[in-house]
């Protein structure tokens, strides 16, 4: 059985806003969400003091003590993003949510920081101070997926796609396959991550973070000759995926079709990217979509602004798509949103395809000669009418994903 899968809703909590119009205005204005973090002055050994926190967001009354007791910030953002997506899809209160035909695929690098610390404190001090009935549920890496399911009463499959930087994209891919192979009819798919100094320290230890603490608006600089590492962000983004005939029967508005998903791994090194397998994953997505490389009009890069990552990704991309493929990285605006990036970047890429305009990589002034030749969008971005886009993400442990979306007429 192979059914067609379409996107009927999007939602997100991001550094540039929580709806496409607001975000689009900032993208066009080349406004980054990165800022200096005076809050981190208590961590002298962490060299990078930059991050891209989410813009303030409101929670309607259904978010109360009881409904939020099992949620830390990542679960709150993941749930709210999913709610916005369901609202757009016209599915809030729809019987399909509780019918068993709807499932959730969501992930993050990790659960919430506060409850994690409570367990750490217990191990160090022997005291269980801070542990409550909900500490574990807030800490577990699939806290977003579980809380989304509980909040909406969803009774289908929960697919925990917690694979660090490919969480959001794997979630979309596995959700697409669940529907494609007839196991679910509707899926909420995406990822989230909350900001804490932890992830920055992870990359800081590997000398992979940007240290331009006095010039936050100039970093990160994906593919740029003067890049000096990544900047950590946060947020959540969810897509509603639906079986095509079901969506059409209920009169849903369709934004795009999920045409292909490629997923493989390097099997080589815990952090160093491998060009061969990164190129292969794009090929796998094309094969799944039944498309030649020439059908793709735009590549949304993972583009984290690390020394090695950008080079490997550009070489892999050029190998499959040639040196004239338009490409840009949204991480130049949002920083690296970790668990959220796969779904955040997929969402915005689809919106850009529908708008006929693709954002540039901001802070890209001079392409690093070590990066392969591609059509790197710079300046004001580009007006482009394309029918197919590809969004790529690559994670620690060598997990690679590639998603192909087709414009819905």
């Amino acid at each position: 059985m192979s059914r067609r899968v379409v996107v009927t809703g999007f939602g997100g909590i991001t550094a540039l806003g929580h709806d496409w119009e607001t975000i689009a205005a900032k993208l066009r204005a080349r406004r980054s969400g990165v800022r200096f973090m005076p809050e981190w002055s208590g961590y002298p050994d962490v060299n990078s003091k930059l991050a891209a926190p989410v813009a303030p967001y409101e929670l309607p009354p259904q978010y109360n003590r009881k409904s939020m007791r099992s949620m830390g910030p990542v679960a709150v953002m993941s749930t709210r993003a999913s709610e916005l997506a369901l609202e757009q899809a016209g599915l809030i209160g729809h019987p399909v949510l509780k019918s068993g035909m709807t499932g959730v695929a969501h992930g993050a690098c990790a659960g919430s920081a506060e409850p994690t610390m409570a367990f750490g404190r217990m191990a160090e001090s022997g005291s269980t101070r801070g542990l409550t009935s909900n500490t574990y549920v807030q800490m577990m890496s699939h806290t977003g997926a579980v809380n989304i399911s509980l909040f909406f009463g969803i009774t289908g499959r929960i697919i925990p796609a917690s694979s660090a930087c490919t969480s959001g994209s794997q979630a979309i891919g596995f959700a697409y396959e669940a529907i494609k192979f007839g196991k679910q009819t509707v899926m909420i798919a995406g990822g989230g991550e909350e900001l804490s100094v932890g992830p920055t320290a992870v990359f800081d230890t590997l000398f992979a973070t940007s240290r331009r603490n006095d010039a936050p608006e100039t970093t990160p600089r994906p593919f740029d000759k003067q890049r000096d590492g990544l900047v950590i962000g946060e947020g959540a983004a969810s897509l509603v995926l639906e079986e095509l005939e079901y969506a059409q029967a209920r009169g849903a508005k369709i934004h795009a079709e999920v045409l292909g998903f490629g997923c493989n791994s390097d099997g080589a090194h815990i952090t160093q990217p491998q060009v061969e397998t990164m190129a292969k994953v794009m090929q796998l997505a094309l094969e799944d979509a039944g498309l030649p490389a020439s059908a793709i009009g735009y590549v949304n890069a993972h583009g984290t602004a690390t020394d090695r990552g950008d080079v490997a990704e550009s070489i892999a991309t050029q190998r499959i798509f040639g040196n004239k493929m338009p490409i840009s990285s949204l991480k130049s605006y949002f920083g690296h949103t970790l668990g959220a990036c796969g779904s955040l970047e997929a969402w915005l890429s689809i919106e850009m395809m529908r708008a006929g305009w693709f954002s540039p990589t901001i802070n890209l002034d001079e392409v690093d000669p070590a990066c392969a030749e591609l059509d790197y969008l710079m300046g004001e971005g580009r007006k482009l009418q394309v029918d197919h886009i590809i969004s790529n993400n690559f994670a620690f442990g060598g997990i690679n994903t590639s998603l192909i979306f087709k414009r819905w007429p």
């Binding site: 590997l206 000398f207 090194h269 952090t271």
Partner: protein
């Protein structure tokens, strides 16, 4: 650590942290080709050296390090030149 202890301390660290055969740890031994240490091991070595020397080590210090003797010289330089961090 005194500068004259650098080689022995380094040798002990390499044996303990990376499970290396003591016989292989000579000044000429190449970190990558002979001792099978990669970029992540280099990061962990830098972290350990910061602990042992009480000095901050930057990736620049390690850019041209290839052999055990190169690491020894970095340690000696840190201990004699820089004030305690």
């Amino acid at each position: 650590m005194r500068p004259q202890d650098a080689f022995q301390t380094l040798k002990d660290t390499l044996i303990e942290q990376f499970d290396l055969d003591p016989v292989k740890i000579t000044p000429e031994a190449r970190l990558n080709e002979d001792l099978d240490l990669d970029s992540i091991d280099a990061v962990d070595m830098i972290i350990k050296l910061q602990e042992l020397t009480g000095r901050k080590v930057s990736p620049e210090d390690f850019k041209n390090v290839r052999t055990v003797a190169d690491v020894q010289h970095v340690i000696e330089k840190l201990l004699t030149e820089n004030p305690v961090a």
